[in-house]
Subunit: 394 residues, 4 copies
């Protein structure tokens, strides 16, 4: 439904042409310094009209905080926020409304609900992600202050243009050759370890590798000029992650991330760590690395990749049929993004933040509750965590 | 945590060396004819010792139904079932217990809980999936009887050995060439449309393509002989799926599937439909197909793919360190699978069944509730679903 | 937390002095005709300033619908609504802020969250119930249209002034006498069967028995004149309830109602049916009646009673202490209700509506899913529900 | 459904004549010393056959732990436990099966599910509470060790025989007299402050006041001799409760308790603190007391009361009708309790323990998360909790 999370709970609302979109964020820790500006930064990265690569609509998307704070401090009560829709008029009907748009949710929504919004996609529209981005910004602010967590996403491919460091080895079908390159190259590890949002935002494509960014830009413009669209992938790295996140067995960290990412409109795939390429590698060469944190303790760094299909709305005429079966041809009018991945970057960051926050709150509960028990003296030492344990020589 | 689902709710329990493993399945529709044998079929496909490709342990894994049925009919109350562990003795300690196994959950569990099971993995062990497979068999039985749903999974790759129909186009990094092959070939579509569990089970690899199966078998044996392990992928097709499944916006069908699949031990990636390859294709060539069902209505057929890393337990000695940091070398003793994907097939089917069942029950609620309202007369016809609508000429 | 319900899910937000209060209602069936006016009716019954028995604040409390509807029809997507706070200025600090108000949540909130709203009660304020009442009005509208459900609450006691029909038998402590009057009199049953909101609203006390209403009014004015407050009870009847509501074992209908009612500010007790008086009666005299519905089928009519403590805010000076322990005396300034029960009537109705709606949606799912199974032929007839069964001669 | 709780999650299963009943307890803190004997104590207090006041069935009800512990220490993984049913034969059918038992769930279950267990009540049977009591014993053990929490329930009335200290003031309907006795007498407060389970168990009635216990015993025997039954109430006190429990607004402590208590079979009412009597008292005389804890900090002591109707199964012949409407007369055969409240005592304790445990875990999360934030310096002192604050001079 429209609520996500157990202790950090995000509920979103809103369609394209209603009064507003927004969210209620319940479970934010009390005592967090937070302003609308903290949220607006990510909202501005999400909104359309930022470059010639995205739709020219220039939505202001100003966040209006409704509750949950006083004097810039969170109270621990639900934080509600709304963002007004600029165009609140009901959609003007026209000939194109007779057609469910191919590959859109129009028909699916109509079949599911028996009624649909005039704007077509309704809740499947990218406009719905406004609430997610706002919620993610709040989670992220807490995580940054409390743990120094850094969450940075970037565009790693557009069509067939890939960040060189992530170009997968040609997966030749072969029986004997084990000499797979490391599913994650050193160069890519270095990028994951250092990339910042400032670097990501240097290009309108949100690819932090300048040459590739330039090629991606051309690829997107080529799609635009052809009245077509193109897909891509977003990679996200989470640094300084506190340990112990994820609740076995159904709510493992990777399972929650997969859920969150595949709930973003237009997503089709998710991988974590070595992902699909890791399936080609023998166990002796596959390695889940531990990372030593600044304070000497062991940490893990998580990276994930999300695949986005090309936007279904294209200006080319497509052969299709009306709702009533009458064959015809449909060309989308108006504004649309030829490629969603640059704007998807803050959405991926937001969903990652929300997942980390929710799992962190659950783990804080376990730690707090277990800390009140007397030390365990009846178990062998290898079954009990001694303080400041170091592992594998790190 | 250990519960999954909203209306069809599965709660599992059990570690490797405790008295039993099992599950409580709450929310199964009343009046379903069900026997232990219906469940045992999938349990037997899951258990080790089925072939020389899997660990030689021969666990009987007999399902013992505890509640929720009378005279072979479900009562609508929770169905509890247990499967006894053959070896319930606490683990014998030895030198190897001083080492957290590399890439295992040993260290993670210990850090998270402050205490861990002697058997190491505890709930991260594959043994935990017994309860999932049993729950999935119940869901599947309902779906088959009520809707004719067919869920069939199979092994689509082992290491670099791929089912030919799914070999991805070499993803050459190129800027201009759009001539991507259809991300899903006609041959592959045909396989998805027809493949049966009987065909899948003809080979111990659970690959339904005999030549590829043979090559996969060799690849697994090569890993085994090298005291190594190898990863792979499982593809799953869901046929005759009722329409309208998935709850926008956070519980979309693909999001719930991704969550469920990434909760299976050793999984690293998930894609649905065109997946990652679809990200390389322009919108004009990307197509989410509708499928006409036997009764003339429109249906969708869903296919998904799950990536499994190579098992972390290998018999080769690996350089590592003890819990206390002392460097050393660890070689796993005893029995282990060199490749998990053949046994993962029924687990993927189970998780798919559980997701479909849960979302179906939610959609049945909506349909039932909406059906009690008078017809909508105040909206334009294209906003309301007329009965027996056909779309796009199908 | 601030979300209630499984399939009909209400999430509320807002404190007394923030920008707005409101709610997101997720899971409303699509295709329901609904207007802001449908909701406003109950909002107006809830708001202060309706009579000289309530606080003279005249909040407009206009409902602003944000999403989830188009052309006056629900889309099945989340319905968000906000009600602006008239006074959004941060609270002016004064000498009284040094004192946690006795019997208020001031201190509790501060201890729980480590920070509190300037307005004191924060989310414990009656202002929070705005979102509940709006959500309840939506649920109720569906239930009325789909099932003819009628939910009517009224004030049954103020202090020691009781509706005569509900005056409990003096519970003399006695060992031998079983001659308890029926815990529910015929006269009271008749009232429950017929009482309407119009009758309830004839008196500012919301007691539908004119003589008692008059006495209650005097009792409230006496409290007001004494700068004191007084408690009371609200009784609620739910008529034409569809059968089968409630999910064993933890989510029985009465358990969900109890939860919902005790979540209303200032409540201290709940009873359903014969309640506490039923505990004094032998089994041979205790009877859960079936009621025949207009269509001949069996129905149940549910009545419940909720107890409200006297408002803690009174104008009399009370000996107390400051947050820092300094003893002193505190007299509340400003406006406050001497008795909350008249305004609690629509809140009780709202929570009852929300509970019924949520449980109904779950039961619709079960019915819809079970209806797709073939008839059960292997069980004895008394274990299977034949169609149109009549029971106990009714 | 059959799962209760957010972080401490209890899922129960089992009917009267199936193989076993039991529960999975998920979310127990790791590192807790726990044995089957710790649980068995409360199981033995719950089971029938303990005295001549309860049914003579002598079920052994031995708890068999299945998972979640090793060497007597909890692992933090789900704890599963089962208790075998002594009589697992399907029910023998007889003439009485033609009748739904009056005031039982027979008809309700049949209507809800379309099929019912041969044993009639199915999950509505008291046998279902086995899993609850076991789960409660685990929660209680943690709470005792970590916080010194004490939870003691006892029988406060049987029929019209009341513990003298709780006899309510005759609620004469009067307009002017405010001289209500304190809704909770000093004598009763003293009992709540000191009563122990050992004292409670001195009498088979589980009333800790010897004279009243004797009168209750006679009252129950009188019901038994008359082939009748009798209701009663259970009072429960929770001492040394950690502060801050309960999640505004829908999951307040009292709301969760009410939910939990009304989910126990045969319950009809719940009150907390002053309850219904508090509704008769003016605000100037109503007081929610703070209690100073041993360490000097402020605590609250919670008391609640639960009302149980008389058991519906009585041996007297009752005029009723068969499922098909044929009028007739039904007298229950076999064993049944004339009064459930003595055996309900450990069930009330269990549900209280489960609620406290679950809310505690949520609050531990909040505290742990908030503690990582820097001190708030921008708010007025009365909005922020200084350390070791004392309130109201205590």
């Amino acid at each position: 439904m429209s609520t996500y999370g157990t202790l950090f709970r995000v509920t979103t609302f809103g369609e394209s042409h209603c009064a507003s979109v927004g969210a209620i964020i319940d479970g934010c820790p009390p005592g967090l310094q937070l302003s609308a500006a903290d949220i607006q930064v990510q909202m501005d990265r999400r909104r359309p009209g930022q470059s010639d690569l995205t739709t020219p609509r220039n939505e202001k998307d100003a966040v209006l905080l409704q509750s949950g704070l006083e004097h810039g401090v969170t109270l621990g009560t639900p934080i509600a926020l709304i963002v007004r829709n600029e165009d609140q008029r009901p959609h003007d009907y026209s000939e194109t409304d007779l057609y469910p748009r191919p590959s859109h949710a129009d028909y699916t929504y109509l079949e599911k609900y028996g009624v649909k919004a005039s704007s077509g996609g309704g809740r499947s529209s990218a406009r719905e992600t406004v609430g997610r981005v706002a919620a993610g910004a709040i989670a992220e602010r807490y995580l940054k202050i409390a743990y120094g967590v850094e969450i940075v996403a970037f565009v790693s491919s557009v069509g067939k243009v890939h960040l060189p460091v992530t170009v997968p080895a040609p997966s030749v079908d072969e029986d004997e050759n084990d000499d797979a390159p490391d599913p994650m190259s050193e160069e890519f590890r270095a990028l994951l370890a250092s990339v910042s949002r400032a670097e990501v935002d240097k290009s309108a494509t949100r690819c932090p590798h300048p040459e590739t960014a330039e090629r991606m830009k051309k690829r997107i413009i080529r799609a635009k000029d052809a009245a077509d669209s193109i897909g891509g992938t977003v990679t996200c790295v989470i640094r300084n992650l506190p340990s112990g996140l994820g609740e076995p067995v159904f709510d493992k960290f990777e399972a929650k991330l997969a859920h969150a990412m595949l709930s973003i409109p237009a997503t089709k795939g998710f991988e974590i760590g070595s992902g699909f390429r890791g399936a080609e590698v023998p166990g002796s060469k596959h390695n889940d690395a531990f990372v030593r944190r600044a304070d000497g303790s062991l940490g893990t760094e998580t990276n994930l990749e999300v695949s986005f299909k090309p936007p279904a709305t294209i200006s080319q005429a497509q052969a299709t049929a009306q709702y009533d079966g009458t064959p015809g041809s449909l060309a989308a009018r108006g504004r649309h993004d030829p490629c969603v991945v640059p704007r998807a970057v803050p959405i991926v960051e937001a969903m990652a933040s929300i997942v980390v926050m929710d799992l962190l709150l659950i783990q804080k509960s376990r730690e707090g509750a277990a800390a009140l028990l007397p030390p365990i003296t009846t178990l062998p030492a290898t079954m009990v965590m001694p303080p400041k344990v170091k592992v594998n020589g790190l």
